[in-house]
Symmetry: C2
Subunit: 89 residues, 2 copies
Amino acid sequence: MIFSVLVDVRLRKGIADPAGSTIERSLPALGFSNVRNVGVGKTIRFVIEAENEKEAHEKVESICSTFLTNPVIEEAEITIENLEKVEGN
Amino acid sequence: MIFSVLVDVRLRKGIADPAGSTIERSLPALGFSNVRNVGVGKTIRFVIEAENEKEAHEKVESICSTFLTNPVIEEAEITIENLEKVEGN
């Protein structure tokens, strides 16, 4: 079965976010006020083949924790969609 | 009113994605096969104050196109949530 995967990676709370801080500091000078709590993260989207949704989840979690994210400072939210189910309807 | 904003930035179709390609090439060597179409994007989350949802949308779109994204190669999906409405319930 084929699954579409979205991994949404964010810095954990309390971890310094230099990119977000820079955006937040710069916006007032560019005419945009009243913006705060800026945080920058990354997304990884891909397609994966697996026997079933459980196996897909396990594979993706393994890929995330070993390769795509640094679990010490980042947390990842995984969204998996069965492409065949959508197409089959 | 206070709004929570998520800007999900992706490369437009056809634009080279070196980070995604590198991940895709590396995964088989790390024991993960059957992964393809890897794409890497970024997210920017923040809180913005505006009179109403329409004004918030206009502000965020303006911030996106002038500052957060390069509209030539990137497309942004904006999600806005009224924090006061959620808290008020």
